[in-house]
């Protein structure tokens, strides 16, 4: 895709976790309202997800924007596919589309 080494690390996170949220802060302590909104939606749905704190890693923070062709954080990936940022995910959550997508993709829920 590119010779930017951070892309491999981003791809690694996406490959090794079914649901990845690139966010500011972590799921327990989000540092931004938009990140908090998605993390909370996933938590309420009891989805197992990995939160990647972009504030802890400047390379990922900048790299993920180019990687996804998406200028803002948070960014949600499900089974390797970029689902969207805060507006899209919120819309999908409210309409029930997000749950449908997660089910279709066979995502694991916390038991």
């Amino acid at each position: 895709m590119s010779d930017n080494p951070v892309y491999d690390r981003i791809q690694g996170e996406i490959d090794s976790n079914s649901v990845v949220l690139f966010m500011k802060g972590n799921p327990m302590f989000p540092q931004c309202g938009f990140s908090a909104a998605i993390a909370q939606a996933l938590t309420v749905m009891e989805v197992k997800f990995k939160g990647v704190d972009v504030l802890a890693d400047e390379d990922i923070r900048n790299g993920i924007k180019e990687f996804s062709s998406w200028p803002t954080i948070p960014q949600l990936y499900v089974k390797g596919e970029f689902v969207g940022g805060c507006d899209i995910v919120r819309e999908m959550h409210e309409s029930g589309e997000l749950k449908k997508l997660l089910d279709e993709k066979g995502v694991e829920y916390a038991s």
Binding site: F34, K65, S69, W70, P71, T72, F82, V83, G84, G85, D87, I88, E91
Partner: protein
């Protein structure tokens, strides 16, 4: 480093000719906007692709000068 609503509208219309653009300043602080964009360019595209077209039109300002832009896109 805020942006004027008119400037946002102008850039979106420039990138997506013929688009219908409605901008709202959500907090009256010139920093948190919402934009509703209706464009024929969006036909047959996913929501992610539609938002990417708007971000392209904003030429890198999103996430920089433009801190928060709540986007709603649709085809006419």
């Amino acid at each position: 480093m805020a942006m004027q609503a008119e400037e946002i509208e102008r850039l979106i219309k420039e990138g997506l000719p013929g688009a219908e653009v409605t901008i709202q300043d959500l907090r009256g602080d010139g920093d948190h906007y919402s934009a509703q964009v209706i464009s024929t360019e969006f036909e047959g595209k996913s929501r992610v692709q539609q938002h990417q077209l708007v971000y392209q039109a904003l030429q890198g300002r999103m996430g920089n000068e433009l801190h928060a832009l709540q986007l709603q896109t649709s085809a006419p």
